[in-house]
């Protein structure tokens, strides 16, 4: 329904969760990042009548209060990735995906064989920054199912702008604060645009940090890294702590992946921010407990579980049904064989 569904390989995660190689078109608009509004950009709402598939109940409540409808809370794609990883890590399968799909082969097992190998196969044309960034990391080790990775050091996500909005802030001062607070090794993960700037990269590297990016977000179905989230999960699981200068999506992913959370440093400014969001000050008011150099694990676990909608994770058959990924939506009509579902 919308090309944003493919950003960060979200649609691909869902496809693998449902046992599909490539994602068919999703009937609906999947929330593409942690959101303090109604699940979507204030300047870019979903078209009317399109199902709003959001991560958690907060965006749904805000949307309903503003008069929007057609919401379905399904949980974040990252939560599905975690469900698959959990299922793969537990032979005998008590995980969500495995339990939900007793009849068919476990999609998680089918879908996640050795992350790096498949990434290269799935994305042969674009080695780009992603492949470079991944070379020689702990990612491969951490991604192996069933093995609890050795967690070391901190991964830090400086607040990033995007293709249409720039960021104003002092990266050097932030880097100095990270160096002062964190025990090495420190990995700094940049948005792909910033990663392409040698100056920014080299500045962070000058502090002895390893500088990476998880891949490209993509746009209009081009340049999406289908393994973006897998790489991110692998990196997160290789670190003990995750940090950022703002409460953000990556931080919640880190908390869900078992990292200790730290939020500190200059939160920086984003260009032309829509007042509907209420600014970073609102985020601080809503989640004061998450703004500390070391957040209590119980607090961060609970916030991440809620904001990523982990309790809303649906079984593959339900996702396929909701997304319109079954062979035909309507029950059989005259003369049409619809017995075989595409999924399930």
């Amino acid at each position: 329904m919308n090309h944003q569904n493919h950003w960060y390989g979200h649609a691909h995660v869902f496809a693998r969760y449902c046992g599909l190689r490539t994602p068919p078109r999703i009937r609906g608009f999947v929330q593409h990042g942690w959101n303090i509004h109604d699940g979507y950009g204030a300047d870019d709402p979903p078209p009317p009548g399109v199902p709003r598939l959001v991560w958690s109940d907060g965006p749904r409540r805000r949307g309903i209060a503003a008069g929007a409808g057609n919401y379905r809370v399904i949980g974040a794609p990252f939560a599905y990735l975690l469900a698959m990883a959990d299922a793969a890590a537990t032979p005998g399968a008590t995980g969500v995906a495995a339990r939900a799909n007793p009849g068919t082969a476990d999609p998680a097992v089918r879908a996640t064989p050795g992350v790096t190998g498949l990434a290269a196969r799935a994305n042969p044309g674009t080695p780009g920054p992603a492949a470079r960034a991944n070379a020689g990391t702990a990612a491969g080790r951490a991604a192996r199912p069933g093995t609890e990775p050795v967690r070391r050091g901190t991964i830090f996500y400086p607040f990033h702008g995007w293709e249409a909005q720039a960021i104003f802030g002092d990266h050097r001062a932030l880097a100095a604060e990270i160096a002062a607070r964190e025990e090495p090794p420190v990995t700094v993960c940049l948005y792909w645009m910033e990663f392409r700037h040698p100056q920014i990269r080299e500045m962070y590297e000058s502090f002895g940090f390893r500088v990476i990016t998880h891949g490209t977000r993509g746009g209009h179905y081009q340049g999406t890294d289908p393994w973006f989230l897998d790489k991110q999960l692998a990196e997160l699981r290789a670190h003990r702590r995750v940090g950022s200068n703002r409460l953000c999506t990556a931080l919640l992913y880190g908390a869900a992946a078992g990292c200790e959370v730290g939020v500190y440093g200059d939160p920086m400014l984003i260009e032309n921010e829509n007042p509907a969001y209420g600014g970073n000050a609102r985020v601080r008011r809503l989640w004061p407990e998450m703004h500390a150099p070391a957040v209590d694990r119980r607090v961060s676990d609970a916030v991440a579980a809620e904001e990523l909608g982990r309790r809303y994770v649906a079984p593959p058959a339900e996702i396929a049904d909701l997304f319109g990924w079954t062979r035909d939506d309507a029950p059989a009509g005259a003369g049409r064989a619809r017995d075989e579902a595409l999924v399930g």
């Binding site: 078209p47 009317p48 009548g49 399109v50 409808g69 057609n70 379905r72 809370v73 339990r99 939900a100 799909n101 007793p102 009849g103 309790r311 809303y312 649906a314 079984p315 593959p316 058959a317 339900e318 396929a320 049904d321 909701l322 079954t326 939506d329 309507a330 029950p331 059989a332 009509g333 005259a334 619809r338 017995d339 075989e340 579902a341 999924v343 399930g344």
Partner: protein, 590 residues
């Protein structure tokens, strides 16, 4: 007692004021012998009893079986003749005519029972009478101190609150206190008052502190029929009981009274100290029905027991029912159907998913693997987990979710069929989805979705993928399952199976219009919102297509640009080369 069978009209004694043609039989359920479980203790063991108006035959035969002489008064002659024929063996004396023409029976009747609409006790030959006059008439017919069992319509009962045609009834006293006063004025002393719902009669104290389980029973007794109503009475009935208004809002009361001109004790219902509810077990033919008495336990729970001493299992075709399993504690819990309806109304899909999964896991829990043959459709065979015989019969209304997980509300039913778990599961979902859609309940799925399509979605929440063939098989299974106990018209399962043909051919037929006006208004609201959304979406798609057309048009002008021409000029020799190469390749291939 007259035991000769005389199948002649002459055997009906005519009182005057008879209605000579037509019939008052309207197919409605009448009070039957099951009512005696609560009121029997108040009735005498010998003497002549007057039964005025339409009652179920089972009440009359039960009275006769107690050794009582029974006089039945009906105003309609064809009805009276038919009753005479049906009841001849039990010795019931049938009289026909207006109640006002009934001569006093010596010293008066030993008991009077009038559980019909007072208006149906007189024909057009009698002048219209007020309720109080009818009561006085009935009181006068009873012997001094004799009990009189009267049905009093509640002027503000649930049927009045939800009925479209219900007008204010100024004839009946306003409220129970006024009823007592009016009865006293007619010379009657009021004893127990029972709340009378269709097929369910409860003592006042039984409904006073009833839990969700009893509320669900009362709600099930109030399911709407095919006639239009203002709103579905069932949820209102449930809330009435939960708010302690189960007696105040009952459609009618059965009042136990006696002639006040005697100092004998006032008749009361309770045979024991434990308050009771009697269930007629409607909805199935008499062969299957097992009327039951529910009584509160010492520890606050409920126990039930079949009323009839004959608890031998009944069997017909593949279906069996063992009434003896109904003797014991009533399982605590709320029907899965009600919980799922509530979850859907609250947009709570997480709970809905948990309920559907819990149901499926419960079906699988004691299912054994085995072979099955689809005698319900196509005689296909297969192997897989089979549902336990009791669980295969129950739908979601018949499964209670209590503190110890799901349990069968009525474990007496079972089938000898070997049925795969998935088919039982799907049939229950189909049934539930039909009730959800036809009942006009609020739900988070698209408006106008057909019950079959909704069943697919619900099955998916438990991770079960359903094919069109599965849906057809489940509908066929439902028909086959219900065949032995279905009413003459085939019952709901058959209607569903016929409807789904239409939905399959055209999903637009999915919306079953609800009979409740409130539900219909809500549905119109949802449809309007969905239509507005759809229109806005069409406009948006139209704009998107226009924008893409414009961009495509821009691509067309590319060939006319100077840059394109310069580029083409430079690459011209290359183009020629490729073209020649292609021609050569084609020649070689052919």
């Amino acid at each position: 007692m007259d035991t000769t069978i005389e199948d002649t009209a002459d055997a009906v004694r005519l009182l005057g004021g008879e209605v000579l043609a037509g019939s008052d039989a309207d197919g409605a359920d009448r009070y039957g012998g099951w009512l005696l479980a609560l009121v029997g203790a108040a009735l005498p063991d010998r003497g002549r009893v007057l039964v005025a108006g339409r009652h179920d035959d089972s009440l009359l035969t039960a009275l006769a079986d107690r050794g009582l002489a029974v006089d039945l008064v009906l105003r309609n002659l064809p009805d009276a003749r038919a009753a005479r024929t049906r009841l001849a063996a039990s010795g019931v004396r049938v009289l026909c005519g207006g109640l006002d023409r009934l001569p006093p029976d010596g010293s008066g009747y030993a008991a009077v029972i009038a559980l019909d609409d007072p208006a149906a006790l007189y024909g057009p030959d009698s002048p219209p009478r007020r309720w109080a006059d009818t009561v006085a008439l009935l009181a006068a017919l009873a012997a001094p101190g004799a009990p009189a069992l009267l049905l009093v319509r509640n002027g503000l009962g649930l049927d009045r609150l939800t009925g479209v045609a219900a007008a204010s009834d100024t004839d009946v006293p306003p409220g129970l206190a006024a009823v007592r006063t009016a009865l006293a004025a007619a010379g009657l002393r009021t004893g127990s008052v029972l709340a009378a719902y269709p097929g369910l009669v409860a003592e006042e104290t039984a409904l006073a502190a009833a839990g969700d389980g009893v509320a669900s029973l009362v709600a099930a007794a109030c399911l709407p029929g095919p006639a239009p109503v203002l709103t579905d009475p069932a949820p209102l009935a449930r809330d009435a009981v939960r708010h302690g208004l189960g007696v105040a809002l009952a459609p009618a009361w059965v009042v136990l009274t006696c002639r006040a001109d005697d100092d004998r004790p006032t008749p009361t219902a309770a045979p024991t100290a434990r308050p009771g509810i009697v269930l007629a077990d409607r909805g199935v033919p008499d062969f299957w029905a097992v009327p039951q008495l529910l009584q509160r336990d010492a520890d606050g729970g409920w126990r039930r027991a079949p009323l009839s001493a004959d608890t031998a299992p009944r069997a017909l075709d593949h279906l069996t029912r063992d009434p003896s399993t109904l003797d014991g504690p009533v399982p605590a819990g709320v029907p899965l159907r009600d919980l799922l309806v509530a979850a859907a109304a609250a947009d709570d899909l997480v709970t809905a998913r948990e309920l559907v999964r819990a149901y499926r896991e419960w079906l699988l829990a004691d299912g054994t693997d085995g072979d099955w043959r689809a005698v319900w459709a196509g005689d296909e065979t297969g192997h897989g987990p089979l549902a336990a015989p009791g669980k295969a019969v129950a739908d979601l209304s018949g499964v209670l979710l209590g503190p110890d997980g799901p349990a069968l509300a009525d474990p007496s039913w079972s089938t000898t069929l070997a049925v795969p778990v998935d088919l039982v599961f799907l049939r229950a979902l189909q049934r539930f989805c039909y009730e959800l859609v036809a009942g006009g309940h609020r739900h988070p799925w698209p408006v106008g979705v057909s019950p079959d399509r909704l069943a697919v979605t619900l099955a998916a929440t438990a991770g079960v993928a359903v094919s069109a063939r599965d849906l057809a098989a489940a509908a066929a299974y439902a028909v086959h399952l219900d065949e032995p106990r279905a009413p003459a018209d085939g019952g709901d399962a058959k209607r569903y199976a016929e409807l789904r043909e239409r939905w399959s051919a055209d999903p637009g037929h999915g919306t079953v219009p609800p009979t409740g006006y409130a539900e219909a208004v809500r549905l119109v609201g949802s449809l309007t919102a969905e239509l507005a959304d759809a229109r806005a979406q069409i406009r948006w798609l139209d704009d998107s297509v226009a924008e893409r057309d414009r961009r495509l048009g821009e691509l067309g002008t590319l060939r006319r640009s100077v840059t394109y021409r310069i580029g083409y000029l430079f690459t011209f020799p290359f183009h020629i080369g490729i073209r020649l190469l292609r021609r050569e390749m084609r020649r070689l291939r052919s």
